[in-house]
């Protein structure tokens, strides 16, 4: 490990390592190129899924998320992650337990059974915010790391919900029309495009994808229509669950509603990987349900 790099415990979550491993590979390599070392967080589990677990019993959600935080506390390292759902669980539970003694005591009573204790000694970050933060990386350093600019590519940004909302418990500012991920996309040489109702949910969260797929897809479909209207070459996001919903969702939308969009879906780390010169094979882009080839033709 190079001495001057920032080091973080890398919380993987479920969908990135187990469905889109290209995101994991890209996150490690692209981060290294901009001065961030992501170290394995051994023994981490599902965050756990905030929609599913939070709906069943918030106390279990607190305890399970706290266990993941404690693993990082034992390493003495802040957590970095690549998924909005994980961010909701890990960031928010860490935040709540740090500020609510009653909650923390309750959680620690359970953690005691497995010889763990939540101390509140680390912070939790989404990689995207570390990229944007000039004290850690900053847009300029991202731009400087680019070897193959994505010139001419029109890209829609999907922020997702749980990174920035509820804003009261976050530090991102405006959630009605944020532009900071667009800045990160522009740093890759691509053209970020605005579209109607940008901040709308992908439709998958809260257990709705599993509970009522047609309902979830109808929300996704509205987003696809709005993106297609402005003519995008790809959509980028910072959440593998949103990625799954847009990527596989387009196949399901075709089956259920008979409409086809063919808009490639790429996690920001996959885009950054391409722009830094990683090959499509090194990103396992063949695992995507929607063919990424038209987008690659445009940029390669």
């Amino acid at each position: 490990m190079s001495g001057n790099n920032h080091q973080y415990a890398f919380f993987l979550g479920c969908i990135a390592p187990n469905r889109y491993p290209g995101i994991e590979a890209a996150a490690i390599r692209t981060s290294k190129n901009v001065g961030i070392d992501l170290l394995p967080l051994k023994g981490a589990s599902c965050c756990p899924a905030p929609g599913a677990f939070g709906s069943i019993d918030l106390n279990v959600w607190y305890a399970m998320a706290a266990r993941n935080v404690v693993l990082a506390e034992q390493m003495g390292m802040d957590i970095a992650l690549v998924c909005n759902g994980c961010y909701k669980s890990i960031y928010e539970v860490n935040h709540k337990l740090k500020h609510n003694d009653e909650l923390r005591d309750g959680v620690n009573e359970v953690l005691k059974e497995i010889d763990m204790e939540f101390k509140g000694s680390v912070d939790v970050w989404h990689l995207a915010e570390l990229y944007y933060d000039p004290k850690i990386v900053g847009v300029k350093k991202i731009a400087d790391s680019i070897k193959r600019p994505l010139t001419g590519a029109k890209i829609a940004v999907h922020y997702g919900c749980h990174l920035m909302k509820p804003s009261k418990e976050r530090h991102f500012g405006d959630t009605e029309n944020p532009m900071w991920i667009e800045e990160l996309v522009a740093a890759l040489g691509a053209e970020p495009v605005q579209y109607r109702n940008k901040m709308q949910c992908c439709g998958a969260g809260g257990g709705v994808r599993g509970y009522d797929l047609a309902h979830a897809l109808d929300i996704t479909n509205e987003k696809m229509i709005n993106m297609q209207d402005v003519g995008v070459d790809a959509v980028t996001e910072v959440c593998p669950f949103c990625q799954l919903q847009f990527d596989r969702g387009q196949i399901e939308i075709k089956e259920k509603f008979g409409v086809e969009y063919g808009i490639p879906v790429l996690h920001y780390n996959e885009l950054l990987g391409l722009a830094q010169g990683m090959s499509p094979d090194e990103l396992a882009l063949d695992l995507h349900a929607i063919d990424v080839e038209p987008f690659l033709k445009k940029i390669l």
């Binding site: 599902c46 749980h162 709308q200 257990g207």
Partner: protein, 193 residues
């Protein structure tokens, strides 16, 4: 002399005077439970409808978050917890972000879902996630196609999680067992078959 607003029909007047709990089977404790679990002062809701207007589920279903907020205040526990619409919230937090009363309607919904689960009312997919995490630590576990892809990427076949270090699983199971979550998930799923 102060004028008191009243109705000629004394029964109706009595009913409307008690503005909160006028349905015989309403439970005044319900709103307190929702507020405690959801950690939000749901009774402060003044029914402006910003929440429903911000909701991605509202235009495509009969789910109305504002209605749930009102029903919670009125103590209509049964109606809230048995309504299938309760599970159509995507937890996007748009309503929470825009609420002019600084409430968290999303968390009120989460609280109602927690209370529904206590009565075994819960969609099956939520419980299946519990079973998966109990087994592997992951809600979305690894598979062979993915292992092959990981290998090609130069990653280890199993990620650095409970999948590679199953010795961490007993700890996770202890937490879930503390809340008897797996046991209840198994039971409810079996009963539904």
């Amino acid at each position: 002399m102060a004028v008191k607003k009243d109705y000629k029909d004394q029964q109706l007047a009595e009913k409307l005077r008690d503005r909160k709990y006028y349905i015989p089977d309403s439970n005044p404790e319900f709103i307190k439970d929702v507020e405690k679990i959801g950690q939000t002062a749901a009774h402060m809701c003044y029914q402006c409808g910003t929440c429903t207007g911000s909701c991605p589920s509202a235009p495509r279903s009969s789910y109305r978050i504002r209605l749930f907020m009102r029903k919670a205040v009125l103590g209509l526990e049964e109606e809230c917890l048995t309504d299938p619409d309760l599970w159509l919230c995507t937890t996007c937090y748009s309503c929470t972000d825009r609420c002019p009363r600084n409430l968290a309607p999303t968390d009120a919904i989460m609280a109602m879902r927690n209370l529904a689960f206590k009565r075994d009312i819960i969609p099956r997919n939520f419980l299946q996630t519990v079973q998966l995490i109990y087994k592997s630590g992951h809600g979305v576990p690894n598979n062979d196609a993915n292992r092959a892809a990981r290998k090609k990427l130069g990653l280890e076949e199993e990620p650095e999680t409970t999948l590679k270090y199953p010795e961490y699983l007993p700890g996770i199971r202890k937490i879930l067992d503390h809340y008897r979550l797996k046991e209840n998930a198994d039971r409810i799923l079996a009963e539904g078959e």
